[in-house]
Structures are given as structure tokens and as C-alpha cells.
């Protein structure tokens, strides 16, 4: 579904990504893990078009994404739940969800989507009239996820959903994501620093360090790998 080939990108002179190749098949849950500054967020920004790559290619269902203007990429079925949540603070919870449904498919499936989103993330139903800027961090994260789901995406990209949350809240967000994935079978691409949880729930994983993929494999291979166990799992 998503094929990234030899992607290089960065900010002005400083290269952050160096020939990264990643593949996400339909229905797969893929996790990209790695330390701070490895280029995980840069990778997501490049997929969404906020950053222009300096080399390589990105293909989504056979479409060359680099030829598609950034604002059009959501309409192809890519939902980006950004780092730090980035909800619209002066819009209500409901209006934030409506913004998620700006795509054609999101508009078509609005009624069914909103019902499922409220079922998965009941806190959003309780707070539907509240301004998003007044929500707690965990609630904002659920709103960001709900907003992504409201577009009826083919691919849901999640950038560090646990960032800045209390451990118990982060656990809860993870548990919700796994439940959503179990019920919907949605293709997901997750970037995460909480390596243990990410690798446990994903089908396939990539380890990104200093802008390069240093390791990849299915969840068992990665969790059995010595380097991963030492560096990330603390074993």
C-alpha cells in the first residue's frame, strides 16, 4: 500500500533521513521505532508533504505521492495523527472531527464513522461541545486519533501517540488503538519511542537510527534480536 524507496530528506543543509526504504502492505500494522532525533517525525512530514525530500520516492497504492500537492494527499486516504496532537484549539471537539471528515469518503461515511468513533473513544462523545484547547493531553490525543479516523482513511499514520502523556494514559491510548485495529482491520503505520509496546502489537517493525533503517523484520524476529533487546527493551 505504502512504498517508500531510498528516501532522503532534511532541513536546509542538514540531512535527517538517509536512503530510508519502508513498505506497508494493506491490512498490516507496521511500527517504526528508534531514539529521539532518528528522523521518525521527519519521515511522516515527508509522507504528508510538509517537507520536500531531497531524493527517493514515495508511492501510495501505486500513485507517486511526490507529484501530489500536500493538501490532496489526505484525499487519497492517508490520515496523519501528528506528533503533539495538534488539535484545533478554538474549534469544538465535534468541529475537530468534522475537519477530519473533509475528504470525500469522510463526508460519505460521516454518520457511520462518528458512531464508531464515539463507541471506541467515548470521552469524545461526552465532550463533543467543548473547545479542543480546553481538553487534557490524553483527551486531545484521542481527539487527534478520532479526527484521523473520521476521514475513512486507508492508512492511519500515528506519530508518537504516547508523547507527553502519563504512563497510565499512554497505556490506555495504546489499548484503544489495538482495539480499533482489531475491530476495523485498518492499515496502520506507527512511530513510537515506547519500543516494547510498539513492537508487541505490530506485525512488522523497522528500527530507525540516525536517519537509516538499521534493522527490520516481523515482530518475533525483532523482539528476539540482541541489539533490540539490549538497546530498547532493557534486557
Amino acid at each position: 500500500m505504502l512504498r517508500i524507496e531510498g528516501l532522503s530528506a532534511g532541513y536546509s543543509a542538514k540531512a535527517v533521513l538517509n536512503g530510508v526504504s519502508i513498505n506497508v502492505d494493506a491490512g498490516q500494522f507496521v511500527a517504526i521505532v528508534g531514539p529521539n532525533g532518528a528522523g521518525k517525525t521527519t519521515l511522516f512530514k515527508t509522507i504528508s508533504g510538509i517537507l520536500k525530500p531531497s531524493g527517493g520516492g514515495i508511492f501510495f497504492n501505486g500513485v507517486d505521492l511526490l507529484a501530489v500537492p500536500p493538501a490532496q494527499r489526505a484525499h487519497l486516504g492517508i490520515a496523519h495523527v501528528p506528533e503533539g496532537r495538534q488539535v484545533f484549539p478554538s474549534l469544538t471537539v465535534m468541529e475537530n472531527l468534522e475537519m477530519g471528515a473533509m475528504t470525500e469518503s469522510g463526508r460519505r461515511d460521516w454518520a457511520a464513522n462518528i458512531e464508531r468513533i464515539f463507541e471506541w473513544l467515548p470521552v469524545l462523545a461526552e465532550r463533543r461541545g467543548q473547545f479542543a484547547g480546553t481538553l487534557s493531553g490524553g483527551q486531545q490525543q484521542m481527539l487527534a486519533i478520532g479526527r484521523g479516523l473520521a476521514s475513512s482513511p486507508k492508512l492511519l499514520m500515528l506519530d508518537e501517540p504516547s508523547m507527553g502523556l502519563a504512563p497510565s494514559t499512554a497505556d490506555f491510548v495504546f489499548e484503544r488503538l489495538i482495539e480499533i485495529r482489531r475491530q476495523s482491520g485498518l492499515t496502520m503505520l506507527l512511530v513510537e519511542q515506547r519500543v516494547a509496546e510498539a513492537l508487541e502489537s505490530a506485525d512488522h517493525g523497522y528500527v530507525l537510527e540516525a536517519g537509516r533503517v538499521v534493522l527490520e523484520g516481523n515482530n518475533e524476529t525483532l523482539r528476539a534480536d540482541d541489539r533490540v533487546r539490549k538497546a530498547y527493551l532493557g534486557m
Binding site: 493538501a71 489526505a74 490520515a79 501528528p82 495538534q86 488539535v87 474549534l91 468534522e98 475537519m99
Partner: protein
Amino acid sequence: MEGFLQALAAGLLIGAVYGLMCVGLGLIFGVMRVINFAHGDFMMLGMYVAFYLFTTAGIQAVFGNAVGPFIAILLAGPVLAVFGYFVHLALISHVSGTRTASLEGEGHYAQLILTLGIALILQNGGLIIFGSVLASIRTPLSSSAWELGPFFDMSIFINKARGIDAVVSLLIMTLLSLLITRSRIGKSLRAAADNPTAATYMGIDVDRAHRTAFALGSGITAIAGGLLATNYPFHPFVGLEYVIVMYAGVVLGGMGSIIGAFWGGMTIGLVQQMSTLILPTQLQNAAIFVVFLLIIFFRPQGFFGRMVERT
């Protein structure tokens, strides 16, 4: 007492039009955070467009002196909206919207200089094309009045043109706030203003949202200008007299709030008219800014400004 009620009525009427004028800038400066110092001159153009539509383009001949001016004024809105659209496309878009990431001070310095330049071109271009003679949109309604009352033994006189101006302002204001709060377009404009990056992730074309807001704001202020022109004569430099009032109104109402900008403009209209009761008319504008400072001192976020941080 009679003088007080009369000044209050005059203040409410002119305040409604000032409110509409401020709302136009509020969309551009308050919501989209783009500084446009040429906004007063856009309004000046709106006044001349309404004037020429009324006189030369034959609206006067078809609709007469009573209805004609208001039709011309309402038509000036779309004309200036198109003008604003292209000014944004050709010039402003280079220093706003998604470009601001690579500019210093969120592009505000560049916007300031660029729009001051546009203002100078419009003022002096106006002088060449329209001349320096005072113009006005004359209607017999400007010199007749409705008598309200008598209440007890007092009557209030409402200038007919100003009365209609205020009603038109309120109608447009209502339509606009419905558009901004309820419609899909309005919500996406607010999302694009809140967080341009996240709006792009949602599939909203941020530059196009900005252009829509800019066109809408230009058109709204042009209509307000046309309404003012039924009572106040104008000239190519008239924008300077109003642009500061517009900014004061937007800040007073609270940055980012459309309703707030309207009440900011209303407050300015009221203060301006009421101050004539106790102060010489030359001090009208001084009174506005004394009240402005007092309000900002006690409520720095303005009437409707929210202290929610913008991410």
C-alpha cells in the same frame, strides 16, 4: 437627556457600520493573522466602485435615488472581493499562509511593508484616477429622518440613510457569522487559522483558505465603506482615517473573534458619538483611543478574545 438619547441613537447607527467595517479586517487580521495596512484603501476603492456603479453605470437611472445607492453598495462588495482575491494571489500569498514558516516574525514584517506599499499605490493611484474633489453617494434619504417617539415628551430623529445602513450592516453581519460558525467553509477557515500544518493533514488547502478569507474580508469592508459614503463625503486618502479605527476595533473585540470585531467597531461608534456631548468634536478620535486604552488595560484579550494558546 434628549441630546443624550439622540447621541446614543447616532452612536448605535454608526457603530453598526463601523462594526461591519471591523469585521472585514477581523477576518484578515484577527482570524488569519495577516497584517493588511491597505485595508482602509480597499474600503476607499469600495466607496468609489459603489459611487461609479450608482452614477455612471446606470443604477441611478434604473433604480432611482432611494434604492439605487444600496444596490450599488451591495454590488461593490463582490467587486472588491475579486480585487482582494487577486491582490492576495499576486502579492500577499508570498508573505503569508504556508510561506510564513520560512519568514522572520511569521511574515509580519514583510506583510507590513508590502501592504503599506499597496496602500501608497492605491492612494496615489486613486488621486490620479478619481481626482482630489470630495465625492459622495447622494440619496434623498440622507437628508430626511424618521421620528421615533415621542417618549414622554422627547422625540428621537433617525436619519433614514443611516438607519438603512445599520440594518444592512446587521443583516450582512448575521449572514457572515452563520457562514463562519456553521458552514463547512467557515469551519475550515478557522481550522486553517488555528493550525495550518494540521489543516493540511486534514486535506484543507491552507493557501486557498487564506485567499477566501482575504476576498471575503475585502468585500465586507467595501460594503461598509459604501454605506458610510451615503453620509460622509470621501476622497482617495479617506482610508487613512479609518484604518486605525479598524485595527482598534479588531483588537478591542478580541483577536480571532468575528463577533468581537463587530462589537469593537460598535464601541468605537458609540464612544465617538457620545463624546461629542461633553467634548469638542475635534477630540472625537482622541476619546476613542482613551477608551480603547482603558478597556485594553482592564481586559487585554479584548471583549471576546480567548486566552487559549495557539499551537
